[in-house]
Symmetry: C2
Subunit: 452 residues, 2 copies
């Protein structure tokens, strides 16, 4: 049995949904289908989720909701008409939407969750109707009935362990199960959405629950690439990678998945395959627990910008037991999480994502550090980037660091920070943001270039 999840672009309109149907028909192991809300049909389009948020905000602000409501319904109707569906489905969706708008709930967070989740939920109903229409036995299943139990935190659902036992029964359902992604229900019966990448998470949970032989994640790219195609022209496709490698790359902004989404699959050893709805014959990228050793110690290069460094200097810092802990406490009190903390004898740097900062917060932190830690110097520098080399082969290969830093050196890229030692499968360079593109390109050339 396979679980197949289709992302927003894969279900954006009738044309895309027809491709989805063809994919499902092509392999009768594709029994459980997880769908997102309709995504963008073209660059400036609005996603269904955005239309629903606008509707919800209007309701909360006591503004007229008619225009926003119609925008949502028009989208569904457009899809339903192009798929030549019976009017029943649209009537059902309209009634559901009106019902949700009238929900008296405590808190804006929960209402937003209920409204956003309707995108996936109603699209699932629509797609199940289409699959039935073309002769497949297909049933829409609601997460509440299926037992997808999650924690009760609006917008940040965590699946509860007991959910898996209930969800396992999905495997016994005859025909295709069409399951909306992105949300579950708390023990109190509240609808709660997953954080970022929600439908990816739903798919992984279901795949784990039914012990699927494969979790196929259908998106709009042929595979995961060894580097960002917007930076490197025509990067090689990654055919096979491990969970660890995917996770490290996701962190540094690879954005095929959100790094947490695959955890249920990881934990249960379910292979994951990234495929292209628009090119389903392409084998895609297979993500596994382990893979065979390859000649190239590196599987991919990721980069992310927008980091700041808090630099702190104090004579004999390293003799003060508790200094580092106190420094981290100050950041914790300010709600700031850190990425790296290279430390020396008399100084240390704390590297953080600079979106967490504001001028006010920076001043507050600097003041506390000066007052409580009696430092000789503290200042914050902005606009750093992290470039990450990832690969299972790195650990056993003497020389990766040498090749990487040589390549950067030849290109005149100054290395501000190196983090090697915490992870066995990645090596992180901290550089100035302005050098990011060049850094990625020279590293790609070094590890994937023609001379290999």
């Amino acid at each position: 049995m396979k679980v197949a999840k289709f992302g927003g672009s894969s279900v954006a309109n009738a044309e895309q949904i027809k491709k989805v149907a063809a994919i499902i028909k092509a392999d009768n192991k594709r029994k459980i289908v997880v769908v997102s809300a309709p995504g963008k049909r073209y660059a400036d389009d609005a996603k269904m989720t955005d239309l629903l948020i606008a509707l919800a905000e209007a309701k909360v602000a006591d503004q007229p909701v008619e225009a926003a409501f119609n925008a949502v319904m028009n989208r569904y109707e457009s899809i339903a008409n192009d798929l030549e569906l019976n009017r029943d489905v649209i009537a059902e969706i309209e009634a559901d939407l009106k019902n949700r708008l009238e929900q008296t709930v405590t808190g804006k967070g929960r209402f937003l969750d209920i409204m956003k989740a309707s995108g996936e939920d109603n699209n699932a109903k629509l797609i199940a109707a289409y699959l039935s229409k073309i002769g497949l036995k297909a049933t829409y299943i609601n997460p509440k009935d299926a037992g997808l139990l999650v924690s009760d935190e609006p917008g940040n659902a965590q699946v509860l362990p007991e959910a898996y036992e209930a969800l396992a029964k999905l495997a016994e359902i005859d025909g295709i199960v069409v399951f909306p992604g992105f949300f579950g229900f708390s023990k109190l019966g509240n609808l709660v959405t997953f954080p970022r990448g929600g439908s990816d998470i739903t798919g992984a949970i279901l795949a784990a629950a039914v012990q699927a032989e494969l979790y196929e994640n259908f998106t709009d790219v042929d595979s995961v690439y060894a580097a960002n195609p917007f930076i490197v022209e025509d990067p090689v496709e990654i055919k096979r990678m491990t969970y660890r490698e995917m996770r490290e790359l996701s962190y540094a902004g690879f954005s095929v998945f959100h790094d947490e989404a695959l955890i249920p699959a990881f934990r249960n050893d379910i292979p994951v395959c990234v495929k292209n709805t628009n090119n389903p014959k392409c084998s895609g990228t297979l993500i596994l627990a382990e893979r065979e050793r390859s000649l190239n110690p590196i599987i991919g290069i990721a980069s992310d910008e927008g980091f700041a460094t808090i630099y702190v200097r104090k004579y004999l810092m390293n003799r003060e037991v508790g200094f580092g802990r106190h420094l981290l406490q100050i950041l914790e009190d300010a709600g700031i999480s850190y990425e790296h903390i290279p430390s020396g004898i008399d100084d240390t740097s704390v590297i953080i994502r600079q979106t967490q900062l504001s001028d006010q917060l920076e001043n507050a932190i600097i003041e506390r550090i000066k007052e409580e830690l009696n430092v000789d110097d503290v200042h914050i520098e902005h606009d750093f980037a992290m470039v990450m080399l990832v690969g299972e082969g790195m650990h056993n290969t003497v020389g990766v660091t040498a090749r990487a830093s040589s390549a950067l050196a030849k290109a005149g890229v100054n290395i501000e920070m190196i983090n090697q030692g915490s992870s066995e499968v990645s090596l992180v360079f901290g550089i100035h943001s302005k050098d990011t593109k060049q850094a990625v390109r020279v590293l790609y050339e070094e590890f994937f270039g023609q001379k290999q």
Copy 2:
């Protein structure tokens, strides 16, 4: 005016002391002379400080003290006789020693301080007597009279700011001042010794107080070398280096100075010169606030062994604000200080000096980490070494990391950790202890070898 400090080996016996006298005579700017207690005369010899500790321990344990007392006096007498000094000095020293033994003080720590400090103190009297004998105007000055005020922590004196004003008056004394190193007096009048490297500290304090043009540190090597002569055969001498470079190298075990000793000199911009009592014509190593740029970005390579790594892994560790802080708290509670803390997405390592650990403590820490942090994995690995490249030029030179890691790679040395980013003048590699010698040698060859 220059301040000249002579270490233990430089004042170990009459022959050495005569060299000291010659050095003082050779330059009439050498007005303030700081001396240590007599050091080892040969490999298996006992230092005066050790003889005094034995004497103090016997007294504290209510054992007979005669043998230990005689061992101390014999040493002084031997020096005095060979210098052909008047019996008065020996009588004075003997009376002083007996007086110290009878001191009723609170606490073993203070008594130990009083006994240990007598080594420097009485040696200074002896040397002042000799200088006078050979026709130099020389006065023994006691730190109490001179106003060397320190904090009241036995064995860990910190100089108080107000001391400098009083000590400045030493410059006004006619002739040579002979000043015992290693101790000062608290405001309560207690004798308190400096921590490690005590006489180096005294010299630096006096040099700062009188705004000396130079602080000469006389020892038994010609200069500071670019690498440990026990590892690299015939390493180049460092002619000029900066305070920052000296400090970083001292940390990693260079052991010419203790890294804190020079701080009073650093803070006051007093140049420091390391010279050899046995070869005073050699120019030695000059340590300054800044130096001219040199072709070689690296000034020296240091190494230190005996590190352990506490490795901690937990999914989504980097999303848990406060995880790192909590981990450091656990170590702080156990009284453990850390050196480096490379951190990643799901894991972090904490690198510590393994002398801080015992089997019991390791188990206790691991237990707390498991219980309080709910980690997926925690374990401790031993026998790592740190190899440090130091150089002011490093910051502006793209390519040092590349050259260093290439050299290590070619030698098959696995790099477990890299710390670059906290300090502008050093780059630290974490490797397995067994690779230390080779790592230092190949790095030396790379940065100082013939092909340069």
